[in-house]
């Protein structure tokens, strides 16, 4: 069910990632201000956008679960949130590396972009203990969905905080007026963003397929044990 179309998706992801890397290192010019170190931007920012998008998507899937009562939507929501947390770790680490190279510090507490992302990340870290402390599957799915929706609604605040922040240390990437990226950098960024999105969807499908197979196996074993006992 979840493995449908997996092969073309995987191929598209590998091609997109390879293209993004080629554009980053052979096409996009070095930034006039930051120099070569600005190349971190092409992995850090798409990862942050996709992670935040994944958390919002997890909230939307949780709404679908609560509306339909179909537990498969809860599993989809869980996998999206889980993957976004992994990407979130990447965002924090690559951000710290970039901050060290650009500003001379691993972390800057008065930078709203960093702190708001950390708050969102820590908020989602609570999701695991909440989910796995509930044994009853129905309640676990329901409570997790409520959390996913509430936290998902909080995520856009992160973007709003960035827009409202007037700090010039964290440049705007895209805006309604076109942002301040030159053409080659913009193209490279968009390809990197597309590659990161494809990677997210591929890994999401991969984990869902694995979870689905595992659940089917469990059901088969239960049925077999019941027959053997009868």
């Amino acid at each position: 069910m979840y493995s449908k179309g997996f092969r073309p998706l995987s191929i598209a992801t590998v091609v997109a990632l390879a293209s993004a890397l080629a554009l980053v290192f052979f096409y996009a010019p070095n930034d006039a201000d930051q120099g070569f170190v600005q190349k971190i931007f092409y992995v850090h920012v798409p990862m942050a956008i996709v992670a935040l998008g994944g958390w919002v998507a997890g909230g939307l899937m949780a709404i679908k679960h609560l509306r339909s009562g179909d537990r498969s939507w809860d599993v989809r929501s869980y996998v999206a949130i889980h993957l976004s947390i992994i990407l979130g770790v990447g965002v924090l680490v690559t951000g710290a590396i970039w901050a060290r190279a650009s500003w001379g510090h691993w972390w800057v507490w008065d930078e709203p972009v960093l702190v708001s992302f950390l708050i969102v990340f820590l908020l989602y870290c609570v999701y695991y203990p909440l989910r796995f402390s509930i044994e009853d599957p129905e309640r676990q799915a329901r409570y997790s969905s409520v959390f996913a929706i509430t936290a998902g609604a909080f995520v856009p605040l992160n973007f709003i905080a960035v827009r409202l922040a007037e700090s010039f240390t964290h440049p705007r990437v895209l805006s309604q007026t076109g942002g301040n990226l030159p053409g080659e950098m913009r193209l490279t960024f968009l390809v990197s963003l597309a590659a990161m999105t494809l990677l997210f969807v591929t890994l999401w499908k991969l984990e869902l397929a694995s979870k689905n197979a595992s659940a089917q196996l469990k059901r088969l074993r239960t049925k077999l044990n019941a027959r053997l006992a009868a």
């Binding site: 120099g35 595992s214 074993r221």
Partner: protein
């Protein structure tokens, strides 16, 4: 701060991309090990059921022209 020289900036850039790819590789390896475990359990289940053949040596798929002559078994 002024831009870092290439040799110094290169270490940071490499570090960031290594972090990203390491995360992905670890994630894929974990999922891969889960799938391997599922395969192993499936084989065990197959043996328990006593059906013998697994997916790898499952029923031979005949080309459509050979299947055309087959009749459905009658009761």
């Amino acid at each position: 701060m002024p831009a870092l020289p290439l040799d110094e900036a290169g270490k940071y850039v490499a570090g960031a991309y290594v972090v990203f790819f390491t995360l992905i590789v670890i994630y894929v390896a974990i999922i891969g090990s889960k799938i391997a475990r599922i395969e192993r359990e499936l084989e065990e289940l197959n043996e328990e059921v006593g059906q013998g053949p697994s997916i790898d040596d499952g029923p031979e798929v005949r080309p459509p022209d050979q299947m055309a002559g087959l009749e459905a078994p009658r009761g």
